[in-house]
Symmetry: C2
Subunit: 430 residues, 2 copies
């Protein structure tokens, strides 16, 4: 058997501890599949003497993760610290400079500095793999890079944030409103005390930027992602979605358009007949549309110690077997630098919910505003009658350019009989 | 750039033509991802001069596929002929003996001779890859071998035959009976003139034997698969399934039990709340349960020229990049030879439909037969009343050993008031 692969674990939070547990518990299986042993040779974390339920007797302790990353007795560094800059970046850059392979679960770091880090890794001839950074245990990056490598990807989209999917699922199942379900999710540990990274779509946008780079052979363009979260989704919208045959999901979507690479993260109306509409709770899913393979969906747990460790160790096994290839499919120097397609040029259908005074002529005014922008209405629902009082009116449109839609909404929002700003949710044809 | 990879295509049926088309249409993309060109250097098929809509001007023609497989100007042979023996086997064995890599889409060949062929390929130091043999375009073998390699697989199951899934979906959606829907599927080209390979479960069993071998590191044991088809599934059963909260799917399932490797293909009652219950029409799906990753599902097109070509070329790219590894995850010589678990020892729940004479005491007799075998009933449905006439009675059981269930059914079938043999469908907890 080949000599063991000596691994340094930087960061002993949930994922770091999960990775050590996997490497210990499944040591024989991993060694058989890798053709050599994978040993945890060194670890580094903020506090040394915390009880973590793992045996670290065989590993050297480093107070300084950056020093560990340069240590000559190490073959691979697993960066499981997190954060787009600071010590995580220092560890990864330092390890690459010292000629070590790197495995990282850090989506923020890679979304911001992925292209540059990949370029340095290739120049040094070392691996930079990050399966765990996107959709947890789902082996989607390997599928894009290798299993589906024969395809031109025409579109990629997915449910990339388990917290949002949990909240939207619970809202649908219980009829409760966003703030209420968020508070519960925080109590249950499914949402952070400061939840904005998740519910404002930033975490999903990090992952989408990585997916798009791998799928389309583009540089990682996090700044080009249009990001909206789910704070504005109300129980009423979820109810109307059901009535119209949709479910509301936070999706990340990317495709090439005549205006450049379109990357967007926002709440979507998804037809209930599509497979992704049935991906509920904390599960994630990614759909790849390829010119030969058609539609392929991968679904699984997108977070958590154990699924993430599964992805980290898969990358380590690839390195142990020497079968790794470029993290972004193509050499970093060969990645395209496409412009990012402006959202104003986005073509799609829309759901619009208005609160209006129930009196004659209101619908005519709204219809006129849409007509003036050449926006074609698909259907309109006004439930119940309450003359002179506020009632919801919901409409959906046929495909139109987003700029036209925005102008029509600006006009509608100024109508006297419209009582609050319109709630707009994009309708996706999947 | 490295020298081109010279490919010989053996067989120009649907898949062979699809593969040539992909290699031509996506030539630049494939070359960029493989780091070298992939060229179709030679082809062989039964008839030379048939119009196939592809340009074969650059390829040498071989009347004898076995001679082509030994040709010194060839690096890889793609065996796209089909059939468990005969010329397909000769081509694959000959190519390996001549030191060529082999890619095959031939599930029958691999289900019968996979272990032996893998052993000879490893001895010769060449690749034997067969992603296209299981679930068409879905990159499930790569996921098992690599993306999920850190996991002990606890169970694997899937919808592995698109023809059966199309028929069962159409039966559910239209309420029509099996024979009727099969005839329509044959007209539409979704089922063969001789459909038995598909509808009797043999095709799914070939694929399951390959999945189980890769997932559990076992020799391929097609003879150990318990196989039933879908001919006995009636419109009435599908109706009762809906009433009980289930859908009926033909699944292939494999897991390790105390009695050995359990592999079975049969119609199943699947809870409607599970993701696989929503995989409809010609789509396939495979669910992998791993000790760290949890449940991962991959869904996509399981057949057809284009999806299958996607899988064939993915394997060719892996060979071009030199990143292939053993087809069955472990070296063929290291594969386990577990006994196959007898179905009589299977533990599961059951759905039973009986046609009985509607008269007092019938249910008591049935209940007594179950009790005598320690089979515990979960629920019982008798719809409508028609004293003295035939009515259906449906019951489901709690988990029990299949041997006990069979004894109880044998007893029930002999009761005077039971008019036809019981229809039994296993209920899966997924």
């Amino acid at each position: 058997m080949n000599p063991p692969l000596r691994i340094a674990i930087a960061g002993l939070g949930t994922v770091g501890v999960g990775t050590v547990k996997l490497l210990q518990r499944n040591a024989d299986l991993v060694a058989a599949r890798a053709g050599r042993k994978l040993v945890v040779a060194a670890v580094s974390a903020r506090e040394e003497r915390r009880e973590r339920g793992i045996d670290l007797a065989g590993a050297r302790w480093f107070a300084d993760a950056a020093a560990m990353a340069r240590d000559p007795e190490i073959d691979v560094v697993a960066e499981l610290i997190g954060g787009s800059d600071g010590i995580a970046r220092e560890v990864v850059a330092g390890a690459i400079a010292a000629g070590k392979h790197v495995v990282s679960a850090n989506k923020a770091l890679l979304a911001h500095h992925g292209t540059e880090l990949a370029r340095t890794a290739e120049a040094r001839g070392v691996a930079l793999l990050f399966e765990a950074a996107v959709a947890g245990g789902i082996p989607i990056l390997k599928a894009l890079r290798e299993g589906l490598a024969a395809n031109n990807v025409t579109r990629i989209y997915g449910i990339l944030n388990g917290t949002c999917n949990y909240i939207l699922t619970a809202m649908r199942e219980t009829g409760r409103d966003f703030a209420d379900v968020l508070a519960e999710a925080q109590q249950l540990g499914y949402a952070e005390a400061d939840p904005s990274f998740d519910i404002d779509g930033i975490d999903a946008a990090h992952k989408l930027a990585l997916l798009a780079a791998v799928a389309f052979g583009n540089v990682v363009d996090f700044a080009g992602v249009h990001v909206e979260g789910i704070r504005h989704v109300s129980a009423l919208d979820i109810e109307f979605a059901a009535e119209l045959g949709y479910r509301i999901k936070l999706l990340g979507l990317a495709r090439l358009t005549p205006h450049g690479l379109e990357q967007r993260v926002h709440a979507c109306m998804v037809p209930r007949s599509t497979p992704i509409a049935h991906v509920d709770g904390v599960f994630n899913a990614v759909v790849v549309e390829g010119d030969f393979v058609g539609r392929v969906m991968l679904e699984g747990r997108g977070a958590g110690a154990q699924p993430t460790a599964s992805a980290v160790v898969a990358d380590l096994i690839d390195i142990a077997k020497g079968r790794w290839s470029q993290g972004f499919t193509l050499p970093a120097t060969a990645l395209a630098r496409r412009p990012s397609a402006p959202m104003a040029r986005h073509i799609g259908a829309y759901y619009v919910r208005l609160m209006v005074v129930d009196r004659p002529g209101v619908i005519a005014d709204i219809a006129a505003a849409l007509r003036d922008e050449q926006v074609s209405m698909e259907q309109m629902i006004q439930r119940g009658r309450a003359p002179g009082e506020a009632v919801p009116v919901v409409l959906t449109t046929h495909e139109t350019e987003e700029a036209a839609m925005r102008r029509a909404i600006a006009h509608i929002d100024k109508l006297d009989s419209v009582l609050e700003p319109a709630r707009v949710i994009r309708v996706e044809s999947l």
